[in-house]
Amino acid sequence: MLSIKNIERFYKTGPLTTWVLRDINLKVSEGEFVTIMGPSGSGKSTLLNILGMLDQPDAGEYLFFDEPVHRFNEKRRSELHKHYIGFVFQAYHLIDELTVYENIETPLLYRGIKSAERKAMIADVLDRFNMVAKKDLFPAQLSGGQQQLVGVARAIIGKPKLLLADEPTGNLHSSQGETIMELFAQLHREGMTIIQVTHNEKNAQYGTRLIQLEDGFVRDDAGVARLNV
């Protein structure tokens, strides 16, 4: 599905070069549930953002469905991003002025989907997430777990091939976090490719593959089963 070769990312402040990612090579196939772990500052989020095309590497290649993303301009990148990738944030990042319904609707609007079809799709998702009664509430009127549910709903409404999640349970109570992770596991079973960044080892259990980053390098890349040994 996607592969990156020799990806590097760094910041220059005066004479100093701060490396964030160094020589990352990675291949992800369709249907995988990948967890990226590592200490703070190891470059997990940056890697996720590069995979999600929100950030560009300073060097290296990125092929997404065999398309050379690193050579695309912003417009083509965002076109690709719009159709194939869904995003879940740690801080939910719902639009405060929009209701639950409208927040979920946003990605569909930008894809130009017709009103009737939109309604049907949103009704489906609301139903599945048990949020029909809350559809006209604003984010400020919801608990954190509910907000993140909306965040996930918004991310998957467009049926993306790849779901990226940056510490999706980081701001939640454990029980709320479990709900979200169950949801991810279910989406995975339905065939969605998921890449998540997390600190939480329990969350990693839901995945099929674990990548450990340290100081910008990949330290370890293995199946989840090995961790359990």
Partner: protein, 800 residues
């Protein structure tokens, strides 16, 4: 999609009420002024658009000059009365033509007199054929073909005959005798440069003797002063053909005249108004320059309002960054974000439109009240088309104001926008907002300085030494009444100190130019000339610098003496005024000996016309105007008594008396109107600039609530905090001063050069202007910073 945009825009507006109010109010203030300008300008450009054949009608304008002087373009709205027949003979492409000679005489029906109240023209039958003034009754096709025919407007007919049928009746028109009423017209529309109460047939003039014509001011049909000429071309005719004929007539008139040469040109009917500053213009309207100036003002104030919007929107965009970031992550392209923010801008501009239409209702009366002169010129119309234009303007303003913030915001990188909400490119945006606020402050300062300079200049001219004392002088037009008769009676009135006469109403806008010949080589010069009574100089307190006044009895041996002003003696080449005494000067053909020299005194328009050589002569039969000096007390009673004397001596004529000082003041009506309008617009610009400033300060303060809180906890005093928060404004103010002051002073200096008596721009005027803007700006800034500095620091820190 649009619904989604509107939805979020409305929620944003409701949620941030202060921001919305500032934005909408500022934009509405700018728009309402622009609306007023559009109304005024459309009014002035809407003249004469009701004539069905208007596009084919041209006026012939002209100029004449001595053969040795150059002549480039027509300067007079009038043309020789003989010209129309000549060009009609030469041109198959002319459908109709008409001359207009203004008439103003008393109407008499039986014993009832309507003195001087009605104005009209002697016109050819072609007038009715070419113009579309409409027709009420009578035979339209030959109403004005016979001598002694008159056509009345509906209102005139009603006034003269109070409703009973007028056609076929006769009226007596002053000394011209009886006229047969052959038709009734509707009243001419307000926006016609040709206005009249009646029209008499041009053949009436052709049937008159030279002497009778001379009484009407027509001294030969080749003179360019007296009549206007209009032609209607056939559908196939072109302006080029007309111009060609006019060029050939220009040549043939110049060949025929010994001394003068001429120029004749065509002027399209639609170009007559707004007026082109031609002499003898009959239409009353704002000169072009004034309209351009108004439009520029409208544009400037609209720009100021747009700057406000840009500045406030950018301030807001920091808070909107997260939303934009999220939208972009979920698929919004740049163009989607641009559209969203343009939608918001247009929504705000539409709300501002509604408010502006309300403001406009307050502005219109204020505009009329600026100067009594305004309402005679402008008829502001609340027409559908005007409001349609306002609406379009509002949409355009919304788009124009919105496009920059929209592009800027759409350029946010989603990741940065989401992650670093607090400081996304905060710095560069602050730079832009600072620039905008500085621009607004600069504009405000320019306006204030202009107002100060204009008012100073106005006072300077009005308080200038005119070389005479015009206070308490009342001028009375005698209109044929004997001066001796009037002055005898007037001198008996309590409160009249002295009565003198002058043929030319000095300082009241009249002018009589003559050629004077002097010296051994018979040099000539153009001089102003007036015939005055012996006591005139004394009455007006015009001092003599050499020689003596006219003797009491100057007539026994015919006219002998002249008194000239200093400028005249200088032009005649005398080193000192005394040297001119006794030398001879031939004024309009009469040889005279110079008996006295006056100190220079103003005699023409004190704003723009310099003091010219002036010759005063003493001849009682030319006493056309009485200049009376009243004593300070009870002038109202004195005037009432004079009025009563007038009604008794001259019952058929209206009293035309006025204070000379008032007349001098009124000569500057455009000037006064202009300065009121600048003041008005300047005020609004400052209000808008302060709103912009307020917007910026609100956000700076909101952004630094935490900083202020920490500083307070660390022990900073309130005064220090206010200073900390306000000092940025002072820097912007300094920059505004550096831009505005040199610019305004330079421009004002050029403008002041147009005046005869000018002030120079002084430091205290500039200082006053700066203080006003500084004061208002500081007031705005302090109102917010003081509040921030007073706030409880714990709250501030906790909130963050």
């Amino acid at each position: 999609m649009l619904i989604n945009y509107l939805n979020i825009a409305v929620r944003q507006l409701l949620r941030h009420k202060r921001f919305s109010a500032l934005n909408i109010f500022g934009m509405a203030a700018g728009m309402s002024v622009c609306m007023l300008v559009i109304m005024a300008v459309r009014d002035q450009y809407g003249y004469d658009d009701f004539h069905a054949n208007g596009e084919r009608i041209y006026r012939i304008i002209s100029a004449e000059a001595d053969k040795n002087q150059p002549l480039q373009k027509a300067t007079h709205a009038t043309a020789p009365l003989s010209l129309l027949e000549v060009i009609q003979d030469h041109s198959p492409y002319m459908e109709a033509g008409a001359r207009l000679v203004s008439m103003g005489d008393d109407f008499k029906i039986g014993e009832r007199v309507f003195p001087n109240e009605l104005g009209g023209y002697a016109v050819d039958q072609g007038f009715l054929d070419m113009f579309s003034f409409g027709w009420e009754a009578g035979n339209h096709s030959d109403a004005l073909t016979q001598p002694r025919s008159v056509v009345l407007t509906k209102t005139t007919a009603r006034r003269l005959f109070s409703g009973s049928p007028a056609i076929g009746m006769t009226v007596q028109l002053g000394e011209m005798g009886d006229f047969l009423i052959t038709g009734i017209l509707p009243d001419p529309p307000k926006r016609s440069h040709i206005r009249f109460d009646y029209l008499i047939s041009y053949p009436t003039l052709q049937s008159m003797s030279a002497e009778e014509l001379s009484k009407l001011g027509i001294n030969g049909f080749d003179e360019i002063w007296r009549g206007l000429t209009y032609v209607l071309l056939t559908e196939k005719g072109s302006r080029a053909m007309l111009d060609q004929t006019l060029a050939s007539q220009t040549a043939s008139y110049s060949v025929r005249s010994e001394k003068m040469h001429y120029i004749f040109q065509s002027q399209a009917l639609m170009d007559v108004m707004p007026s082109r500053d031609l002499a003898n213009e009959i239409g009353v309207g704002t000169p072009h320059v004034v309209l351009y100036f108004l439009m520029a003002l409208g544009l400037v104030i609209l720009l100021a309002a747009c700057f406000n919007y840009v500045s406030l929107s950018l301030a807001r965009s920091i808070k909107r960054a997260k939303e934009i970031g999220v939208r972009k992550v979920f698929g919004a392209a740049k163009k989607d974000v641009v559209r969203q923010f343009l939608t918001e801008a247009v929504l705000i501009s539409l709300l501002a439109f509604v408010l502006a239409v309300g403001f406009l209702e307050l502005l219109i009366p204020a505009f009329y009240n600026l100067d009594p002169f305004v309402s005679t010129i402008f008829q502001l119309e609340r027409s559908f088309s005007n409001y349609l234009i306002f609406l379009l303007m509002s949409l355009l303003v919304g788009l124009a104001a919105g496009v920059f913030p929209a592009l800027h915001i759409a350029g946010f990188q989603p990741l940065q926008a989401i992650q670093q909400l607090k400081n996304v490119r905060l710095f560069s945006r602050m730079g832009l907002r600072k620039t905008l606020v500085t621009l607004q402050l600069t504009l405000s300062l320019v306006f204030i300085l202009v107002v100060i300079i204009v008012l100073k200049q106005q006072n300077h001219v009005l308080n200038a030494d005119l070389g005479q004392n015009i206070e308490n002088i009342v001028s009375v037009q005698l209109q044929g009444l004997s001066f001796d008769k009037f002055s005898q009676r007037a001198m008996q009135v309590k409160g009249v100190e002295s009565v003198s006469s002058t043929s030319v109403a000095i300082l009241a806008g009249e002018n009589n130019e003559e050629t004077a010949i002097f010296g051994e080589r018979n040099d000539s010069m153009q001089v102003g000339q007036s015939f005055i009574s012996q006591n005139f100089l004394q009455n007006m307190s015009i001092p003599l610098v050499a020689g003596v006044n006219f003797p009491e009895d100057n007539y026994s041996e015919g006219e002998q003496f002249a008194i000239v002003n200093e400028t005249a003696t200088r032009q005649m080449g005398f080193p000192k005024p005394d040297a001119a005494l006794g030398s001879s000067i031939v004024a309009s053909g009469v040889p005279l000996s110079i008996i006295g020299v006056t100190k220079d005194f103003h005699h023409d328009n004190i704003w723009f016309s310099p003091i010219k050589p002036f010759v005063l002569r003493n001849k009682s039969e030319r006493a056309y105007n009485a200049y009376l000096r009243l004593s300070e007390a009870n002038q109202r009673e004195t005037l009432a008594s004079l009025h009563a004397i007038w009604s008794e001596l001259s019952p058929q004529k209206n009293w035309y008396g006025f204070y000379l000082e008032e007349r001098v003041y009124n000569m500057a009506k455009f000037f006064r109107m202009g300065s009121s309008i600048i003041g008005f617009v300047g005020f609004l610009t400052i209000v808008i600039a302060c709103l912009g400033l307020l917007g910026m300060v609100v956000y700076v303060v909101e952004g630094s609530v935490k900083e202020v809180g920490i500083r307070k906890v660390l022990g900073a005093g309130e005064a220090r905090l206010v200073w900390q928060l306000s000092k940025g404004f002072l820097l912007l103010m300094c920059i505004a001063v550096f831009i505005a002051v040199p610019l305004t002073v330079f421009a004002a200096d050029m403008w002041l050069n147009n005046f005869l008596m000018r002030i120079s721009v002084e430091v205290e005027m500039v200082a006053l202007g700066i203080s006003i803007v500084l004061f208002l700006g500081l007031l705005t800034v302090m109102s917010q910073t003081y509040w921030a500095a007073r706030a409880n620091p714990i709250e501030a820190i906790k909130n963050e």
